[in-house]
């Protein structure tokens, strides 16, 4: 038979080894639950943010993108494959393409240097600018055709909410020139939380 002292010692030892995970688990699960809830809530409530690429092409068809906003337009000319086109042209045509490339790179640089959101860089469409743009696109397409090089630019309008006024104006101006008859046009509706990312398009 055990002595009283031995029994007491054993009891004390058991008492010291008792471990309860309940407080830890309860707090841990609470934190997990709250974080998951916040994540689910934010994914539902926050509008989806989508970035549009600056350079858009499919095969040999290259988009000259014009984003039509309530305050005007943002023109994003393609530059990526123009040097390749230039390489297959004769000297006189090379100079023409060179001028167009320089003008376009200046346009892109202006957009990149714009302080603040790129979507605030919209400007009122200017009739002469539109006519020049359409003429340049036609010139490039014809030079590519002449050199038997697979390259065709077309105009792609991205229409933002309340942005149809600028679009209508450009389409009206395009009717003034025969150049536009030879150019394909496409248009897509865009939401206001779809923003343009110049860097992503260029890095691609």
């Amino acid at each position: 038979m055990m002595s009283r002292a031995t029994r007491y010692a054993r009891y004390q030892k058991d008492d010291r080894l008792e471990i309860s995970l309940f407080p830890f688990l309860s707090i841990f699960l609470c934190v997990m639950g709250v974080l998951s809830f916040i994540n689910v809530l934010s994914s539902f409530s926050a509008p989806q943010k989508i970035e549009l690429t600056a350079q858009l092409e499919t095969g040999y068809k290259i988009a000259y993108q014009i984003f039509s906003l309530p305050d005007g337009i943002i023109s994003v000319p393609p530059t990526k494959n123009l040097r390749k086109l230039q390489a297959v042209l004769d000297d006189a045509d090379k100079e023409i393409v060179d001028v167009i490339i320089q003008q376009r790179e200046q346009k892109i640089a202006r957009l990149e240097n714009h302080s603040g959101s790129i979507m605030d860089a919209a400007i009122e469409p200017d009739i002469d600018d539109v006519l020049d743009t359409v003429h340049d696109i036609r010139t490039l397409n014809e030079l590519a055709l002449k050199a038997n090089y697979l390259y065709e630019e077309f105009i792609l309008f991205g229409i933002y909410p309340n942005g149809s006024q600028a679009y209508q104006k450009i389409r009206d101006v395009m009717l003034l020139t025969q150049d536009s008859a030879a150019i394909s046009v496409g248009l897509e509706p865009l939401d206001s939380n779809w923003t343009l990312n110049l860097q992503k398009g260029r890095s691609k």
């Binding site: 934190v31 309340n162 006024q165 679009y167 496409g186 248009l187």
Partner: protein, 230 residues
């Protein structure tokens, strides 16, 4: 006493919470990165198909029955109600009309409460779906006048979402579609090309069916239809 002031469980909780937050941050970053979006490439092109007109506004779509509309407009014109570019009722789902030498008939959509909601497209038997199902892909294409004005707090044009959904439905049925943005200042109008060069209604989006949202497939189909039209 030593057991009571142990920091083990606190450290566990903090490290677990921080770990979970880091995981969420990484997931969000990966998610953000994949949101770069390339526009699909719908190109307007000539076609022998005839347009069937729709107006998309306030998440609702109205099919325009041109026979009824033109008959009503003719009645109004002969009764002089449509003189001097005055707005007149077309007795068609709350539409008002205006006749203009340069723009043909313009349609002003003010009250859209009677129009079918675009979500009805999911129902097997609904006015909207019936009118879309009547389209014959070999003879017709859908042309949408899409309102671009925004409702309070919305990031989209009032007709954009309805148009996109309907366009996808039509695509699955191999029906082509085209569109133009409109608003109260430049409303939907139907006119003849003999009046103005702007009076052209062309399909731009393909009825590619399973070719899906792959821009390459889309463009290939577009070229095929171009050739066919020519």
């Amino acid at each position: 006493m030593k057991n009571l002031i142990s920091l083990d469980s606190l450290t566990d909780i903090v490290s677990n919470s921080v770990g979970i937050l880091i995981i969420f941050a990484v997931i969000n970053l990966i998610h953000d990165d994949s949101k770069t979006y390339q526009l699909e490439i719908p190109l307007e092109h000539d076609t022998d198909l005839s347009p069937v007109f729709f107006i998309s506004k306030n998440d609702r779509i109205l099919a325009l029955n041109t026979d009824t509309l033109f008959a009503n407009a003719t009645l109004q014109a002969t009764s002089n109600a449509a003189a001097n570019k005055r707005l007149f009722s077309l007795d068609y789902f709350g539409l008002l009309g205006k006749i203009d030498d340069k723009k043909g008939i313009s349609f002003f959509a003010r009250d859209t409460s009677e129009w079918p909601e675009f979500k009805e497209i999911e129902k097997r038997s609904s006015t909207l779906r019936d009118s879309l199902d009547k389209l014959d892909p070999a003879k017709q294409f859908a042309y949408f006048f899409v309102y671009d004005n925004t409702e309070d707090g919305s990031s989209s044009g009032s007709g954009f979402e309805a148009f996109r959904e309907t366009r996808e439905y039509l695509k699955s049925r191999f029906i082509k579609s085209g569109w133009q943005p409109v608003n109260s200042e430049s409303p939907a109008n139907i006119c003849s090309r003999s009046i103005s060069r702007r009076c052209v209604y062309q399909p731009s989006y393909l009825g590619g069916g399973k070719s899906g949202s792959n821009p390459n497939n889309s463009l290939n189909n577009e070229n095929k239809s171009d050739n066919k039209a020519q």
